[in-house]
């Protein structure tokens, strides 16, 4: 379908949303085109109701300010790095190639 150049003025929030979706470095026209195509095809649908996460998680009782969080992550990486690096792969068995069997056809 032929394209036509238009001038767009978008809300800053919508521009930020597009950037957040990874369109910031790419082709803005293609992004807007994609969105309109999806809307026309009814693929956008009704967004689900927002579910707040406030008050739904717990911090460690002995570290409510997460002051030892970095240490915990360093420990995870240290444990990973301390494992011996050994790659073991089953060796393919070596056998001399067997001669192909000739199919014998019975005659008569």
């Amino acid at each position: 379908m032929p394209k036509k150049a238009v001038s767009l003025t978008l809300d800053e929030a919508n521009l930020l949303w597009l950037r957040g979706r990874g369109y910031g470095q790419g082709n803005l026209s293609a992004a807007v085109d994609d969105l309109i195509t999806a809307a026309r095809a009814g693929r956008l649908g009704v967004p689900p109701a927002a579910r707040s996460v406030v008050g739904t998680i717990d911090l460690a009782a002995d570290d409510p300010r997460l002051e030892r969080a970095d240490e915990a992550i360093r420990d995870l990486f240290a444990a990973s790095l301390a494992r011996p690096r050994r790659v073991s792969e089953a060796r393919a068995p070596y056998e001399p190639a067997r001669p192909l069997k000739r199919s014998r056809r019975r005659r008569g």
Partner: protein
Amino acid sequence: MADLPAAVADTHALLFHASASRALGRRAAAHFDACEHQQALVYVPMAVIWEVGLLARASRINLRRPTQAFFEDLFSNPAYHPFDLASGQVYLADDLRFTRDPFDALVVAAARTLALPLLTHDADIGASGAVPVIW
């Protein structure tokens, strides 16, 4: 809807918000509160998502559901956006010399890429001046 305030979340800021902790700074709390009313935006870098998963695995936090389910709940509110990691952010993080913490570097790189302030209480990040901070 124009000119919605927007910011990038550091890991501890997001976790303080989700746990309704009083440790969250006043300005950061106000920003998150505005997000809950869909009057502000927060971008969540991939490094934050990974760090949250690692902290759950290390039992430093209890998400009460799998990491993915927690973030699906968070992103069900259109005020919160995951911000994908791209190579440009990795190069930017590599250039940051004020920290040796790879997560901090990637989070700062995300904020710089979006040209947005960072919701953080990290003293090193604040002192570096690498990004404006909100707390």
